[in-house]
Amino acid sequence: MVVGARADVGPVVSSASSAGSGRPPAQESPTYLQAIRLALIEEMRRDERVIVFGEDVAGKKGGVFRATEGLAEMFGDERVFNSPLAEAGIVGVGIGAAMAGYRPVVEIQFADFIFPAMNQIANEAARIRYRSNGGYGCPMVIRVPYGGGIHGALYHSQSPETLFAHIPGLKVLVPGTPRDAKGLLKSAIRDDDPVLFFEHKKLYRSLREPLPGDDQLVPIGRARVAREGDRLTIVTYGYYVQIALQAAERVAAGSGRQVEVIDLRSLAPYDRELICESTRRTSRALVLYEPNISFGSGAEIAAHIGEECFAWLDAPVTRVASPDVPAIPFSAKLEEAYLVSVEGLVEKIEALLAY
């Protein structure tokens, strides 16, 4: 897996090689973005109830990030179409289609623009099954490009996943690698309940890896040990998995102490067992997350560890996250100040190891 290269906020033409073919040449390691596109194609081939709509997802554009590039051509403009510019409409129509038996995969262009759809997501999608006594389900996937570090400023950088993880009835996925992006998106599309699928924009073109065969699912709710270690457990997800891995390497290079890195992959439900098993083994935990620190996703993880691993802990469960300011500024200097850096994280790890 290669980290690096550039990842832009906006639509950048994807390398022509894979356009239209539906699959990159076998020898290639697809990017996170290509993996998502492949999952969509496979699932649309497999199940014709799967439909795709949202802003700019159809036509020649195929999404501002090109995740749905070529899909309209492949599957026709009835199954893949542009919606009007209206997020409540996108999600609400998706809910109706799901109740009527289809499996809509809708796109919210940027996570920052999901709020107009909040009512449909929180009050409707999440409660369809519960309020109808199981009479209706809402098998819908909402794809949500999110995250910072791409010069997106206040409205193209947000990480609002915590808000959805708090709402029972929803599932919230946050894949950190191409393999997980593909396998989890496929699981999400086959899931009978509404799934928020958060795709980290900074990973779209910066991560590649070879994928297993066509039909590999990744189970919802299971975390992954991204790096093994015995001295401290970092629980994280999304782009920060990469930061955690780099920081862990530096710590190991410096003092030989091995830090375990857990990639949650799934935020709701999250893998309580794996987190506790690891923390009980390492006796130290650091929760790293991109949302604003207060009331953010990692608060739940930290609280859970504190409750379930109390007797095993040798140091306070420490949170490292974004400051409580309203999203990332446009200025590169300020964006840098906002985000967690490898150096900053290494310091936090060292401090915790020394506790």
Partner: protein, 345 residues
């Protein structure tokens, strides 16, 4: 101007009367302290009955709102189910005792589950209409809402989405002149919501929602347009609210007595009965027989519903996800193990 036969009108009248009888009984239960809440369809019965009349139950999709008791009865929901739902019994098929009364869901009738949140259901109807069109079926979707709810942005998004994709959906606004205590003139600055259809590019019309035959004619045209692939229609059906907004509202505080008196003159049931009598299709004997029949039906259904058990506490956490509470086919579900309910239950 009526395309409704005498037999059909009698049947519509029966549906309206049944809805009224059930509705009145719910108020009585409320006053007796047996039901903490009720929301009424009184004044709206002609709209519901007429709409059910022009639809194919179990084939067409319906996204209703809380004033649609007559509609769901007309489509075939049983009185017992309505009471089981209102009384939040274990066997409530609508919501398992979870939702407030009149928050419908009848999957076999293709009545979509509804929330309390005004206007949201209009988008679900559009979604169902989208699927109907993708399947190349002749299914139609219908949604109802109050005139107050048309102020919500989601109504706009629903209309526009339906227009752009020319979907088989009918929007019926049950315009009773009030949104709780807010009169229509503080809600919108046009005489009728029907003019809004032109903003999206499909037909809109007004109909008298207290005249069941007129309403059926209007709804019937719209449903046939949709079925024929000619796209959406918006209908504003004028009616009255014969009760307080809900059992939690005391409308004498804000509602002038004259307005209430005027509203009563437009009781759709009286109007329908007069029409039947004028057609020579009704008389006092039939009225009495009907009243007795309905009373018996309502009594029996209520008796059975009252005797049904309350939901067991452990059903609290069911149906949050398809797989149930902990583990399932698709993966692992959010568990509630850390939560208090386990101990409390």
């Amino acid at each position: 101007m009526s395309t409704v036969s005498n037999e059909a009108l009698v049947s519509l009248y029966r549906t309206m009367r049944l809805a009224r009888a059930v509705d009145e009984r719910l108020w009585i239960l409320n006053r007796q302290g047996k039901l903490p809440f009720t929301v009424s369809c009184q004044g709206h019965e002609a709209i519901g009955a007429a709409l059910a009349h022009v639809l194919r139950p179990g084939h067409d999709w319906v996204a209703p709102y809380y004033r649609d008791l007559a509609l769901v009865l007309g489509l075939g929901a049983s009185v017992e189910d309505v009471f089981l739902h209102a009384l939040a019994k274990a066997t409530d098929p609508v919501s398992g005792g979870r939702q407030m009364p009149a928050h419908w869901s009848f999957p076999t009738l293709r009545v979509l589950t509804t929330s309390s949140v005004t206007g949201t259901q209009t988008l679900h109807a559009v979604g169902a209409a989208l699927v109907a069109k993708l399947k190349r079926s002749d299914e139609v979707a219908v949604t109802t809402l109050g005139e107050g709810a048309t102020s919500e942005g989601e109504f706009h998004e629903a209309c526009n989405f339906a227009a752009v994709r020319r979907l088989p959906v009918v929007f019926v606004v049950e315009s009773n002149g009030w949104a709780i205590s807010v009169p229509k003139r503080e809600q919108l600055a046009v005489a009728s919501v029907a003019v809004r259809a032109a903003a999206y590019g499909f037909p809109g019309e007004d109909c008298d929602g207290t005249d069941v035959a007129a309403a059926a004619a209007s709804f019937g045209r719209a449903v046939e347009r949709a079925r024929a692939g000619e796209g959406p229609t918006l209908i504003s059906a004028e009616c009255t609210r014969l009760t307080a907004h809900t059992s939690d509202d005391q409308d004498t505080v804000y509602r002038p007595a004259e307005e209430v008196a005027e509203a009563r003159k437009r009781d759709p049931i009286t109007i329908a009965r007069h029409a039947l009598v004028a057609r020579g299709a009704w008389d006092d004997a039939r009225e009495e027989a009907l009243a007795a029949e309905l009373r018996a039906e309502v009594d029996a259904a209520l008796g059975r519903a009252m005797a049904a058990p309350d939901p067991a506490p452990d059903t609290l956490a069911r149906d949050v996800y398809a797989e149930g509470r902990y583990e399932g086919a698709g993966g692992v579900c959010r568990d509630t193990s850390a939560s208090f309910v386990r101990e409390a239950a």
